[in-house]
Every structure is written in structure tokens, then in C-alpha cells.
Amino acid sequence: MAIVTKRVSDEREAEEQNFNWVGTRAVRPDGVDKVTGRAKFGADLHLPNMLVGKMLRSPHAHARILSIDISSAEKLPGVKAIVTREDFSDLASEFVPAGEMMVNYRDITRNVMAREKVLYEGHALAAVAAVNAIVAREALALIQVDYEVLPHVLDVVEAMKPEAVLIQEDLLTDGADPPADKPSNIAKRVEFGHGDIETGFAKADVIVEREFNTRPVHQGYIEPHACVASVSEDGQAELWCSTQGHYVVRGHCARILGMDVAKLRVTASEIGGGFGGKTVVYLEPVALALSRKACQPVKMVMTREEVFKASGPASGANMRVKIGATRDGRITAGEAILHYQAGAFQGSPVPPGAQCAFAPYDLEHVRAVGFDVLVNRPKVAAYRAPGAPISEYAVESVVDEVAKKLNIDPIEFRLKNASREGTKASHGPKFGPIGLVETLEAAQAHDHYQSPLQPGQGRGVASGYWFNIGGQSSVTLNTSEDGTVALVVGTPDIGGSRASLGMMVAEELGVELDKVRPMIGDTSSLGYNFLTGGSRTTFATGKVAVDAARDLVSQLRERAAKIWDVPVGDILWHNGEALQKNGRGGPTETLSFRDLAESMGKTGGPLVGQASENVQGAAPSFGTHVVDVDVDRETGRVEILRYTVVQDAGKAIHPSYVEGQYQGGAVQGIGWALNEEYIYDSEGRLENAGFLDYRMPVCSDVPMIDTVIVEVPNPAHPYGVKGVGETPIVPPLAAISNAVANALGIRFSELPMSPPRVLAAIAAASSSK
């Protein structure tokens, strides 16, 4: 594990010597509770008179709902409330941001409770609240639903055909040229790029064009969705849930249920993983609706099967990528045509997929076109760098093949074409201080890349990009009378952010880290906070936390000025103490944070640091991965021998959690590349809705993932932070595919590279020889 700090200004380097907390590997404040089992997750809240809520889900992939009869279920003793489509009002089509993806209220209300049709197996269509789970399950069995089963479509290419069954009968392709006049399953067409690709391809000495197919994959968080809702007779409501953004949940639920936003208070539980999948609502509006009807608290918890069948996977896709280059290794043009599965409602991450596809390259002629396509699967949700791993898999595979054709080392080839500060990105903006070249150079110099391979083994390289976002955060620092501080933030901690935020605040205040207690406030305790997503929390909430600390410091200086009766301009704040310039006046030499906190009642009242901002200036993070594989030629099994992640963090506030993000992304990418896929029967029913047959990697499947943190600071953050949580899942798919190609001499253009697929390809290659 190494940290390579690049291009750090002299001033910053000088400061760097003096950091007490930033850059250290401090103990996380939530650690003890988590390892002792004390931490309270979504399903851990118990309220008096609490009911159990259970969902009735569609057994069909596509069907019209002719009728829902709840009369006998309602009569079952112990049943306190039943809700169906009748209990939710219809909402007009309106797009709102949910993390890095947009959601549409017309669609969300139909996704949480089916209206006209069920659109995938597992689609919710009724819910029961009862005194216990046994009664709730019995009641579900008593609900009579009359369906008209319709043909279904799961495959993105099939879904685009003119004869395909229509999932939304009135859907006209947005952005089509010429404008669409007939409904289809293609919800949207987007295009990004510049220059003229035909001119570019005309200059190329080699052109490689390939088609790729990837499968949907699940985020695989270990904690299933869970919530407890409690609505009182006067309409005031409380919601406890496992989410990446409780303010966003509050907004969605209030809209779906027609409530005043302020009447609903949402508390985020500890969260057992989200990876983007907990940025949307599933159970929450339904639990609130049940509680509103029953006037009792209602708990709902998904089973793992429900998580797989009804919560968001990442898109599967069909893609075509074409890249041309000159003999000396300059890319002349790149084109990508991307078809992404959206699931049953529009809104796949094909726009960011198209934007990211060529981001690592400085290109004169580039074009990426994306299509958002409906299929009878659960609506996709964000998954780490939504859309980017898919498109960059295709592009980085072709880049590798072009480099091979030109007989140029793949890192050398990338360096010749790499985006740098000032490059006009294929999706429009000019890049600021980015760290792609630094990651490529660090990867090239790494012992891993320099080490020899054994016969039969293969090595692959790929780079990856993600934008990262900023956005709204609100932070409060409440000073206690003994000089300790509560740091209250509104962005749930999914990756160690309480530790990093606490460290930045302790650094600013100049106090010991254990005097700062970071916690996640509920939606009524702070101003608006956008969710934890887009790798924004350490960057955006971090900047706001630093500003809140600086606000508190300026108040502390004012109090000291008052005590000493000197102008505030004469007061310095250093190492947790107020001191006077030149040491003149005043009875004491210094006033510590503790002194000032103890006397705050006499000097002006409570000391509260606050900041609320819409943070701009998020900087993208680039990464480069190197992987070695071995392939069992007789069984087709791919073994990951060695894996190194090199990525730009801007500044690693807590290096261990940055490394954890790098390693976790790589491991999820390994699963995506090698084994993860949804298996459906001919009726469109999922056959592997569990971790036994939906094969995410287990610990023994992966080697220790080596990491190198490159630091090219982001000028828009006080410590230089860039988001790091998403980029690590972008390069693995191509890096592993390139390594397999290097080992076998066979190029795969389909994921996952599961043993049967690999063995079949080996057999096909040897029979064609």
C-alpha cells in the first residue's frame, strides 16, 4: 500500500508537515458499535405496538392487473391494514435527481405499487400490515389477483425490435432524430462528442470495431432494505430506514403520499452497504401508507429474494465500439453505440455511460450515442459510477486490442493519448488538474507491472473515469460546555465518512480527534442535505464541515477578544488555542477551546459552528488497474493471481478508507467480470435470487488487492479531496478481460467470463485452429 503525492505545491507541502489528523489512519468512531453488534441497522428498531408489513409481489414478468380483491384478507383476524394502487394517487411525469440518476414521479409511484400492469417478476402490488409475520403471510395468500399475462422481453436487443411487446404503451423516444412518431421500448437517445469521426477514421492506419454484451448485476449490499414507519392520527410521521439519503427519501415519500415535507421526519439507520442501490425508495412509502391506515408503527424488511427480484440492478447492455489509430499510436477517432437496459421504467445510466466512455482520452474526433431501453426487469438503480463500468469496459477492451495490433505497450499507448489538464473531454468540459497520467506512470513503475509472468498467465491493464459530484450539504458543530463537540451531518456514512469528517474538523479546531463526536442527524436537525452518492460526502460535506469549523473558530476568536478586550483582528487561533499577536494585554497568555467553551454562557451564549452550501468544484478521479490471471484450460475457471489499483484521490484524508474503496471496487468488478449474472426461466422468472447462485466473490476468491494512492489535489477543497468511491469499479471489467486475452489469445466480448463460457471459447478456438 503506497501513497504517491504528485504536484503538491510548496505551500501545501509545508502545511502538510503540520497536519495532526488529516492523512492519518485514525480509529473510526463507529467501529466499536459495529464489531460488538450494538450498531442499529434498518431492521433493528422496535416500537411499541409495532406491526409487521409484508408485500405481495407479481409472479409474472409482464401482466395486466384486471382486479385485486382484498376482501377476505381484510377479514383475517390480526390484519390491521392493506394497501394497493387504490391507496396511492397517480403522479404526473416529472424528473427529479436521485443521486447521479434521475427518477420520475409517475414511474416511482408505479414502481412502489403497480397500477395498470405488473412489469417484472417481484413487482409490488399489495401490502399487508398485521400483528405478526405469520398473519401477514396468511393475509397475502388470501388476496385474489386477476392477471392477463402478457408476453415479456428481457433482452435489450430484442426489446428494441419493432415487433417487441411494448412495456409502456405510450412511450415515444425522447431525443430521436427524426422525432419518434410510434411508441417503442426505447425511452431516450443521447449523443455526446465533438469533431467528425469519419474524418478521424480516414486518418487511421488500424481500426478495430467490436460488439459487446454485459449482464445486469446487483449491488449486493449485505443489508436488505428495511424501514419502520409511524404515522400519527394528526398526520405527523416518523420514518427510520437504511438509506444513502434520508432527505431524498423524505422528499419522495412526502410527494408520493401527498404529505407536507416538514411533517415527515426521517432518521437514517446505520447502513449495511448501498453502492448506489439505496438512493431510491421501495418499502418506505408503502410502510408509511400502511401505518397511516392502521395508526400503528409498521416495520417492513425485504428478504434477500425480494432484494434480488425487486431492487435495482445495474444495467445490462449491448454495445458497439470502434477505434482508429495511426501506426505511431495516436488515436484518430472513437465511436461508441450503447444500448442500456433501464428495467421496467426509463432512466438507465446510459447518459453518464456515454459521457464517460472516452473520458480517459484526448480525442479530436469522438462520438458516443446512448439508448435507454425498457425491459421486463426491475428498474435499474445507481451502482458505483452508474453506467461507466459498462461503456468503459467496451472502450478499454478495444483500446487494448488496438495497442496489441500496433505492438505498443498498453500503458505506453494510453500515455500517448491520455487526457491531461486542459484536455477537452469528449462530453464537453475542459479538464482541470486531473491525475490520469500520474496513475499510468505509477502503474508502469509499480513492481507488479515490472514482474515477470509464468507461462500461461496473462496480464491486463485498464483505466477508468468518474465525474464525482458536489451539491448541497448542511453541517452543525454543537459545542459542549467541556470543550467537546458534536459534529452533526446529514449524509449517511457508507464508507467511513464520519471518521474523515471528524478528522478534518479536529484538524481545523486544533483539538484531539476524540473530542469531536461525528453523527448523522435526522432530517429535522439540519438544513437540506443531498444524499451520500456521487462520491460527494468527503468532498462536499467535508468542505462544509471545514467551513462550519472555521465559522466556530471565528466565534472563538471573538469570544477571546471580548475576554481580553482587544480587537478580534489581534487574535490568532493556533493548535486549539486563542492567542494574541505580540502577546500584549489580557490576564492569560492563551485561552484554550475548553476555557472558551466553559465560559460561553458568560461571553455570548452557545457556541455553534454552522455552514450550509451548494458545493461546486467536484473533481473527477481517474484510476488505472493492473491484474494478472491464470486460466484453467480444462475447466475454464479464471483465477485472479495479483491485482493492483492505482487511483487519484486528490488528498487521502484517511488513507485506509480510501484503500478500502479501491479494494472494494476492484472486488465488485471481479465479480461482474467473472461470475455475476441473473438467470431467468422462459417465463421471465429469476432463478438465482440468492447469494448461493448469484455468485459474488467470496474472500478466498481474491488475492490481497494492492493499492497506490496518487494525490493530485483538487483546488476546490480545503485539503484537496476528490471523490474516490466510484472510479475503482470502472476499470476491472476490461482489465480482467484484457488479462484473459493475454493469457489465452482469445478476446471475450461478453460478460461474465464464467467457466462454461470460457471453456466453450477455448474449445471453439482450438477446433478452428
Binding site: E634, G636, R637, D693, V698, P755, P756, L759
Partner: protein, 287 residues
């Protein structure tokens, strides 16, 4: 649902007999509890046999190992003598699940759950282990291979359960081995599993062979043609290839979420070759 934990075999038989098909034996519970929680089964009576000493012990009878049906994978792995005698059986049992599962999972449960993919079963069949069964009509013995009759189905009558496994005395120049194929490295279900036991004479000629293959048919197959391909040979490459071909011929798998017919058949042969070479190596382990 009622739970009982008898302390003798007779008490267990009486409980099981009175409740007929509505009861289930509970050993380690690593299959049973999963099935209960998912609603696959709804028994009225659970008879936990873990409190019966006889099913929890490993004994030696006239030089033969008798292993209680509820001895766990972890206990088998720590039994040096048993491991030396039947390394293939123990390595199969130790493949089941993970460290946590190993503390509970038993040979009896693995067999009586009657999954075609159960890991210990091909190794037990290859070893020629005999089940001691207790029931309302007293005790009887049955070869391991005669217990499972189809996925989830056994030949045990109502009231009967497996008390122990009796292993033959291993011949001086014999060896057994087991391998399975899974896409991951653990926590997975065998796509194919192969257990082989071979015995050589003083001239290195194979005098006995048992080749058992799991997950390629409704029950574990004991492939006679594969054994015949080895017996009378020096277990050289040519005879191993014949053995492999016979394994592939015997396969009658299904296409499912865990593997295709083509893939399972191909990999069954690959594993058979690898297992055979390990077993051959082990015939020399006492030299």
C-alpha cells in the same frame, strides 16, 4: 411445530415412528434450517439427534472406523487416524461450506438431504462405506449408494434414521481422493464432484477401483465401466483416458443455473483424471 432432543437411539426411533412423515431429523441443521426458514418444508416435529452419544463418536471396531452420522466436518478434519486412512472422505467433508458450516455440517445430513451435488457422498460411495440404520424394526445395514433414490428422496422408511457409517479397513496400497468443481473457491454447490478409491497390488497393478460421480445424474453414480478401465492396468495415462471416457459416457446431467449438460459432462471427465492421479499418489503414502 414441536422440538424434541432424545438421548438414545430408541427414543429417537419412537418419536419418529409416531409422527410418520410429519417429522424431520435434525443433525447440524445446515440444510434443514435453511429449508425451514424459506418455507420449503413445514414439519410438525423436529427430532434433534445431536444429544445421542452414538451418533457423535468416532470409534474403531476390529480395525474398522465407525463414524457417527452427526460427527461434523471439523471433527473429521481433526481426527488424524481417520484422515490418514480415508483422506478422500475427509477432504470431501471438509469442503462443505465454510469454517462456520464446518462446525455443524455432518456426513449423515449431507447424505440424507439427498442432493445430487452433496460433496461427501461420492467420496463415501467410492470408499465403500456402509450405513447403520436404526428403525422401528431394529437395525439394518445398507451401502451408502443405496440411500438416495432421487433428488430429496431416500430409501429410509418412516421412523428410520442413519446412526453411523462403517468403513472397511483400507488395503496397504490403496488411496482415495475427492475433487469438486465450483466457479468460486468456497460457499458454492458442486457443478460436478468425483470421488475415486483405487487399490494396487505389489506389482503396481490396480486390483480394485471405485469411481463415483456427483451432480451429473439424479443420484451419485458408481461408474462400473470406469472402474473396469483401471482394474488390471498400471493406472497409466491410456487407462486413465479410458476411465475418463467412461465417466463422460455415464453422465446424465441437466441444464440448470449451475451448469449445462455439455459443461458438466466435460468437466466430470477432467476432474476424474485429476482425482485418479491424486488417489494413485496416495497409494504410496505408507511407503
Amino acid at each position: 411445530m414441536q422440538y424434541e432432543a432424545p438421548t438414545t437411539v430408541d427414543q429417537a426411533v419412537a418419536l419418529l415412528k409416531n409422527s410418520g412423515n410429519a417429522s424431520k431429523v435434525l443433525a447440524g441443521g445446515t440444510d434443514l434450517l435453511v429449508q425451514l426458514r424459506s418455507g420449503m418444508i413445514e414439519p410438525e416435529l423436529i427430532v434433534d439427534i445431536k444429544k445421542i452419544p452414538e451418533v457423535r463418536s468416532i470409534l474403531k471396531e476390529d480395525g474398522k472406523f465407525r463414524v457417527g452420522a452427526v460427527v461434523t466436518g471439523a471433527e473429521l478434519g481433526e481426527h488424524g487416524d481417520l484422515k490418514a486412512a480415508w483422506p478422500g472422505v475427509v477432504e470431501a467433508a471438509e469442503l462443505i461450506g465454510s469454517t462456520q458450516i464446518q462446525g455443524r455440517a455432518s456426513l449423515g445430513g449431507n447424505l440424507c438431504n439427498a442432493s445430487p451435488a452433496a460433496d461427501a457422498v461420492p467420496a463415501l460411495v467410492a470408499a465403500g462405506a456402509i450405513c447403520m440404520i436404526a428403525g422401528p424394526n431394529g437395525r439394518r445395514e445398507l451401502p451408502v449408494g443405496a440411500i438416495c433414490t432421487g433428488p430429496g428422496q431416500t430409501s429410509l422408511s418412516p421412523g428410520e434414521f442413519v446412526v453411523s457409517f462403517l468403513f472397511p479397513i483400507p488395503k496397504p496400497r490403496s488411496g482415495d481422493a475427492y475433487l469438486r468443481f465450483i466457479p468460486r473457491t468456497e460457499m458454492d454447490i458442486a457443478v460436478v464432484g468425483v470421488g475415486i478409491h483405487i487399490t494396487l497390488d505389489a506389482e503396481n497393478v490396480c486390483v480394485d477401483a471405485r469411481v463415483a460421480v456427483g451432480a451429473v445424474a439424479p443420484t451419485v453414480l458408481l461408474v462400473e465401466e470406469s472402474a473396469a478401465a483401471l482394474v488390471g492396468t498400471m493406472v497409466d495415462d491410456a487407462s486413465i483416458d479410458k476411465m475418463i471416457a467412461a465417466v463422460r459416457d455415464s453422465c446424465d446431467p441437466i441444464d440448470d443455473k449451475r451448469g449445462t449438460v455439455v459443461y458438466r459432462t466435460q468437466v466430470a471427465g477432467v476432474l476424474a483424471g485429476r482425482v485418479c492421479r491424486i488417489a494413485l499418489q496416495r497409494t504410496r503414502r505408507h511407503e
